[in-house]
């Protein structure tokens, strides 16, 4: 269960004012939910994800994950939480160019102190269908393949929370569809809660739940179980 209680996030503006990015957001999201996060640019989607991952702290309010106080935990606890419980997928893949596919996945397992990091990384790449491309570097892979490496890296530690920030934004429609299906099926298989930020309402509608943000406020929250066929 993710409990978001009256979360507000403000940043100082260059003029010395306070810019409110998120305004009094509250939601209780059951574990295993698959949510599409939609909204216009600047509506606070990425900030919300960042705070759920513990990368930023809310100005006011609280966020808890299965009772773990994300908004008030110490840096070391948060790092451990991210390493073991959270998986990230980004729009721009964020692969290290000088490392091979296997090494890119391995790094996440090693940071999480996985006891069998290498075999876990190989298994994760196998899940995403890249077991034959272990030694390829990012520039030797297509965009869709690079995103699959990034997905393998996100799931290598079998996280309970999968945060995807517009992961299909840089892909052609066919690759985007493949990546979307892969992410949703893997999150279901892992029993992870999925937050899938996208501008594509059609994709968001394929997920069981939806969070819609408008000017930093929660305009709509729809929760239901399962993935639509």
């Amino acid at each position: 269960m993710i409990e978001i209680e009256n979360v507000t996030k403000e940043y100082p503006s260059p003029e010395g004012l306070r810019l409110r990015i998120l305004d009094s957001i509250s939601a209780n999201i059951p574990s295993g939910s698959q949510l599409g996060v939609v909204g216009r640019s600047g509506s606070g989607k990425t900030t919300l994800l960042s705070m759920i991952a513990g990368l930023e702290r809310p100005s006011t309010g609280a966020i808890r994950f299965n009772g773990f106080p994300i908004s008030t935990a110490g840096e070391a606890e948060l790092s451990r939480f991210r390493a073991r419980e959270v998986g990230f997928v980004y729009q721009t893949f964020q692969l290290l160019k000088h490392l091979s596919a296997l090494e890119n996945v391995l790094i996440a397992a090693e940071i999480a102190s996985h006891p069998k990091a290498k075999s876990a990384a190989q298994e994760a790449l196998d899940w995403v269908g890249l077991s034959t491309r272990l030694k390829h570097r990012p520039d030797q892979l297509s965009g869709g393949e690079q995103q699959r490496v990034a997905i393998a890296r996100a799931i290598v530690n079998k996280p309970k929370l999968l945060l995807c920030d517009e992961p299909t934004g840089n892909l052609d429609p066919q690759s985007a569809d493949q990546v979307f299906r892969l992410i949703s099926s893997l999150s279901m298989e892992l029993g992870a809660t999925l937050f899938f930020v996208t501008h594509d309402y059609a994709l968001a509608h394929q997920l069981s739940g939806r969070i819609e943000l408008e000017r930093g406020q929660l305009s709509r929250l729809q929760l239901s179980e399962g993935v639509r066929p």
């Binding site: 990425t46 994800l49 960042s50 991952a53 990368l55 930023e56 840096e75 070391a76 948060l78 790092s79 451990r80 939480f81 991210r82 390493a83 073991r84 959270v86 990230f88 980004y90 729009q91 721009t92 964020q94 290290l96 160019k97 000088h98 490392l99 296997l102 090494e103 391995l106 790094i107 996440a108 090693e110 940071i111 999480a112 990091a117 290498k118 990384a121 890296r153 920030d165």
Partner: protein, 889 residues
């Protein structure tokens, strides 16, 4: 040009100057180091060329270490092929000055009325030979200033019991040589180039040759150098006349005087200083090169970032060529300003730091030389700097700003049927794409040929930098393996650090090279200081080491000299040897000319052999080698056994170095000519001599039975405990034996140490500059790679890396870079020290490599790099990772 261009350029300059300032500063430091050194070099060369005539004093010089045959002088004087001639006989003596304590070592030049043939020497007042003929002397300015000497305006008898003479001596208007007083009738401006030409044995005094002869300071037995300076008629061909002279000299048997041309003199005068300056130049250019490469990183990072801007402006309709000119122009303006500022700072550095340190060599003052009045030098500088700048900037422009308009260079090259120049250009760009640092290095090295046509300089630079480059590349490769390879188990922080180093191989290579180079220079300076300067001091200090030498004592004076020296030293503290002068006339029954014809080896080796064969050799005899174990040892063959029972052992033991230079081997037969009498001996052993022992050592040692009837001179080495005793003994010697030379080795060692220290201070100064540059580049490198580093570490943080891991990894990266850089530098410095010691300074001793200074420098570097790491880590941790990862590019 479009109307938008100039305002855009102004805006670009205003917006980017802060970002480019570190690059510019780095370039500026490198340029100032190079300028300072090149000015020093130019001054040296200028002075040498200006005084080329004075070095020799005529068109050619005929000289010998004995008095030249009168017949030769007469025949040359009467020949129409010679316009003028002057005879100068020089010898070393000891001069007493009132209240100066011990006598001073001087070089006396006994001249005739034709001196000087070349009007390069300045006298105050003008030289009047009559005053010299009547017993007066001229002294060098520096000698006069040091001892407060003044002009004597009256004639004196010079006799030791003459009151007027004594009075003038007391008033420091006369100098005593032996037991006779010589009034000072003029001063001579110091001949600066003498410092280069040889290790001077003291100040010069000039007197009339006939006076020196009358006072018995010159005799056929004296240790002297007799020179006949000749000037050719204006219309004569110097080469033809020299050839004629050579033929004339061949008629003199058995031992011919040496013939030296102006070119020979110039070469020998300039060689020691030239070697030193070549070395300095190499350091200066290496500094510019490396710091230039460092700043190129900054410029490329700038141009890389401008790709994005260029794309936007291009989409808005701006011409791509103009855009390229805009950003490249900005980078060129900044670089040119940095180079100009560097050149200006370099001049100040030269005038304030280098010229005063080498004051003896730059007595003309540093201010008169400036880039502005050195047209040739300025042009050379400007061209080199401009080309270097272009080589640093243009590739970036081609790579980043023009890329959109062309296909990959390698693809274009493979399919191209273009003319050769275009294919070469494509190869260059393709090389840049794949090995940018190596291509920059090669380009800059090629540019070094523009700055100096000296092959030795360029080779030294090429060897130094390419050696360092490949060593560093190898290290980067090893460190890369520490990265995230699944097969290596190391702490995660170290592996992340290795991964970061591998992520930016060219930048890491350059940072390592910069550290390597600067640490190398510092450690090298330390090595030389400890190994050579301290060695020289140690050689003349301590109770057991000889510190006073008497050379050239005639046989009849040996007992007296021994007695004088023994009074001041401990029992057994005086070593004496007999020295016989001879010429090596034949090797394996071939004359030296024939031997040289079949001589194999480089031109340098051949010149060395020629020089060694043309000079007189000092022979000594010894029954056994047992008591010399400390200073020499047999390295090949066998030294004769003292109990062999043979009446005569016609054998010679040769020093290994000279044997190698002359191609002499065990079993060869050598024939020495001792005053016309041939002595034939067989080489039965080769010895390695430790010349730094400051004991009398010889190239050729014969058995006493061979030299029993040969004329000899005495050579003494004494250990005198303190200054006072040394003064007393030297005074006693100079009064009783004015014709012999006594050297105080502690003074010579001090002088040598001072000279070396001055040179090392300059190296130290430069290494400090390079070190500052290296640190600057570390910050520059940290700054230019910050975006990439921030992205990588933000990713790690998103993946769960905590602050501690980020800190440790960033520290690990900087520590590994600095540590490996320092280690490379220390090892390179050891190699360099060995090379310089063996080649430039000809020191054979085993190197005493010190670990502690290397560790200390490494510690400082690592500590400073840790500060850079801390700054970098704090900046990374202050950023929100998710936002960093969403930034474009």
């Amino acid at each position: 040009m479009s109307h938008w261009f100039w305002p855009a350029l102004q805006r670009e300059i205003r917006a980017s100057w802060k970002k480019l300032s570190l690059s510019a500063f780095s370039l500026c430091i490198g340029m100032s180091a190079l300028t300072a050194l090149m000015l020093a070099d130019a001054r040296l060369e200028q002075q040498t060329r200006r005084q080329a005539d004075n070095i020799l004093g005529g068109d050619v010089e005929i000289s010998d270490v004995r008095l030249l045959p009168e017949k030769l002088i007469e025949s040359l004087t009467s020949s129409p092929k010679i316009a003028r001639r002057s005879r100068v006989t020089s010898f070393v003596s000891m001069a007493n000055v009132a209240q100066a304590g011990r006598p001073k070592l001087i070089e006396v030049l006994a001249v005739d009325d034709a001196f000087p043939l070349v009007p390069g020497i300045k006298f105050k007042p003008n030289l009047s030979f009559e005053s010299l003929r009547s017993g007066g002397i001229l002294v060098e300015n520096s000698f006069a200033v040091t001892h407060g000497l003044q002009l004597a305006n009256q004639r004196i008898s010079g006799e030791v019991n003459d009151k007027t003479s004594q009075k003038l001596f007391t008033e420091r208007k006369a100098v005593r040589i032996g037991k006779r007083f010589f009034p000072i009738v003029g001063f001579v401006e110091n001949d600066q180039m003498r410092d280069f030409a040889s290790f001077s044995l003291g100040s010069r005094l000039y007197m009339a040759r006939e006076v020196a002869q009358r006072q018995k300071l010159i005799s056929s037995q004296s240790r002297l150098r007799d020179r006949l300076l000749l000037q050719f008629p204006a219309q004569a061909s110097p080469e033809a006349t020299q050839e004629w002279l050579r033929e004339e000299l061949k008629k003199i048997e058995p031992i011919r005087p040496a013939l030296r041309s102006k070119a020979d003199a110039l070469n020998s005068a300039f060689k020691p200083a030239r070697s030193l300056m070549l070395f300095f130049n190499a350091i200066g250019f290496a500094a510019l090169l490396l710091l230039g490469l460092g700043s190129a990183q900054g410029l490329h990072s700038y141009l890389q970032r401008k790709q994005y801007d260029a794309k936007i402006l291009s989409n808005l309709g701006a011409n791509r060529s103009l855009l390229t000119i805009l950003y490249v122009g900005n980078a060129i303006i900044v670089s040119a300003a940095a180079l100009a500022a560097g050149a200006w700072l370099g001049q100040i550095l030269f005038q304030q730091e280098i010229a005063p340190r080498l004051g003896r060599w730059f007595a003309g003052g540093g201010a008169e030389l400036s880039l502005l009045n050195q047209a040739g030098l300025t042009a050379k500088f400007a061209l080199a700097a401009f080309l270097l700048t272009l080589s640093l900037i243009l590739p970036g422009a081609l790579l980043y700003l023009r890329r959109g308009q062309r296909q990959s260079s390698i693809t274009a090259l493979a399919t191209s049927s273009d003319p050769l120049p275009k294919r070469l250009l494509l190869s260059f760009i393709a090389g840049l794409e794949n090995f940018p640092d190596l291509v920059w290095l090669i380009t800059a090295l090629l540019l070094s040929f523009l700055i100096s046509s000296e092959t030795a300089f360029n080779l030294l630079l090429v060897v130094m930098l390419t050696g360092l480059y490949f060593a560093v590349r190898f290290l980067v490769r090893i460190v890369s393996r520490l990265g995230l390879s699944p097969n290596i188990r190391l702490p995660l922080s170290i592996r992340l650090a290795g991964s970061e180093i591998a992520a930016r191989p060219a930048q890491s290579t350059l940072t390592l090279m910069l550290f390597g180079m600067s640490v190398c220079m510092m450690a090298f300076m330390w090595d030389l200081r400890t190994n050579i300067v301290e060695q020289i001091s140690a050689a003349t200090s301590g109770n057991q080491r000889p510190n006073v030498f008497v050379i050239d004592a005639p046989p009849e004076a040996m007992a007296s000299v021994q007695e004088i020296l023994s009074k001041g030293s401990a029992p057994g503290g005086v070593l004496s040897e007999k020295l016989t002068r001879a010429r090596l006339a034949r090797i394996n029954n071939k004359t030296t000319e024939e031997w040289l014809v079949q001589f194999t080896g480089s031109a340098d080796a051949r010149r060395t052999a020629e020089r060694l064969l043309s000079r007189e050799q000092n022979l000594t005899s010894r029954e056994k080698l047992d008591d010399r174990q400390q200073t020499e040892s047999v390295v090949a063959g066998q030294f004769w056994r003292p109990d062999s029972g043979k009446a005569a052992i016609n054998e010679v033991s040769v020093e290994a170095g000279i044997a190698k230079n002359l191609n002499i081997n065990l079993g060869d037969n050598l024939t020495f000519d001792i005053q016309g009498i041939p002595i034939k001996v067989k080489v039965t052993s080769l010895r390695r001599v430790r010349w730094q022992s400051f004991r009398p050592n010889f190239f050729f040692v014969l058995h006493p039975s061979v030299l029993s009837d040969a004329p000899f001179r005495g050579i003494f080495a004494a250990t005198l405990p303190d200054n006072k005793t040394r003064s007393e003994v030297l005074n006693n010697l100079s009064q009783n034996h004015p014709g012999i030379t006594a050297l105080d080795a502690t003074e010579l060692a001090d002088l040598a140490a001072q000279l070396l220290t001055a040179a090392l201070e300059i190296v130290g100064f430069l290494s400090f500059l390079m070190f500052a540059g290296a640190l600057l580049n570390t910050f520059l490198s940290a700054w230019t790679s910050f975006t990439m580093r921030a992205q990588n570490f933000s990713l790690y943080r998103c993946l769960g890396a905590n602050n501690s891991l980020v800190l440790r990894a960033v520290f690990g990266e900087f520590t590994l870079l600095s540590l490996f850089g320092c280690l490379t530098g220390v090892v390179t410095s050891w190699l360099l020290s060995t090379m310089v010691q063996k080649t430039l300074l000809s020191v054979d001793d085993q190197l005493q490599l010190r670990v502690l200074p290397g560790l200390a420098i490494t510690g400082v570097v690592v500590a400073i790099c840790c500060i850079a790491a801390l700054v970098s880590a704090i900046l990374i941790l202050r950023q929100a990772p998710f936002r960093v990862l969403r930034r474009p590019g």
